[in-house]
Symmetry: C2
Subunit: 137 residues, 2 copies
């Protein structure tokens, strides 16, 4: 359901690392955090509590599968999960592997930069394969 000019609605059909009818996994395309992933609910829903419980659990399952794959591939120091949506109030989750030498550690990625930071990359093909193996198509 596209609402006005919501960028996450307009982008709904763009290539994704994984998708089903309910949600899609895409790279956040963040130069500092090349393994920063987003899980986007396909419908234009504002808050987690606007979803029914089965949908909440499905979205959590996808978010945590991304977390699990990122941990297995990169062994980050910590995973950060967040759903904010202040600027784009269309339900989406940030899944961010954090490292002690990244640009903002130990602060959130939205705080002031602390250093140039090492950009820890991930192999997209391996990520796609791992998501497909862990989640139903």
């Amino acid at each position: 359901m596209q609402i006005n000019d919501c960028p996450l609605c307009l982008d709904a059909a763009a290539p994704a690392l994984w998708r089903d009818e309910q949600c899609r996994v895409v790279s956040a395309a963040d130069a500092d955090y090349p393994a920063f992933m987003r899980v986007i609910w396909q419908a234009h829903v504002r808050e987690m509590t606007d979803l029914d419980p089965a949908s909440q659990q499905h979205l959590l399952r996808v978010v945590l599968t991304v977390e699990r794959v990122l941990r297995a591939e990169l062994s980050p120091h910590k995973i950060n999960l967040a759903t904010l949506g202040n600027q784009v109030p269309h339900l989406h989750w940030h899944v961010i592997p954090r490292f002690t030498d990244d640009a903002h550690f130990p602060d959130p990625v939205w705080a002031a930069r602390r250093r140039a930071g090492v950009a820890h990359a991930i192999d997209d093909a391996r990520l796609k394969a791992a998501l497909s193996a862990a989640l139903p198509p």
Copy 2:
């Protein structure tokens, strides 16, 4: 299970707005965000994917009950949810009702302040009662 000097382990028995054996809901005691709540897993666990699926769902249920109560009580512009743990790697969630006139909107609360900001308060007694009504003791 207390690990070294983890502040969330040391604080496990402190008064809470709601608690069960697995987790507790406390105020973040943030002067800019008096309705900013935290949901803290009682055991010293690092990541969501370190919990079994039933525990993940239980924690999500508590987090989203806090979200639902904050929405009902305050009608915020947006809810922000996050589990970061870069500084305190003991699983806990931030549940933050956001308003267009708060100190950081539309940025995350961890970004640079934009204005003095209005601190939207919540009645703790009403919050406790609503959590108790919505969740098993």
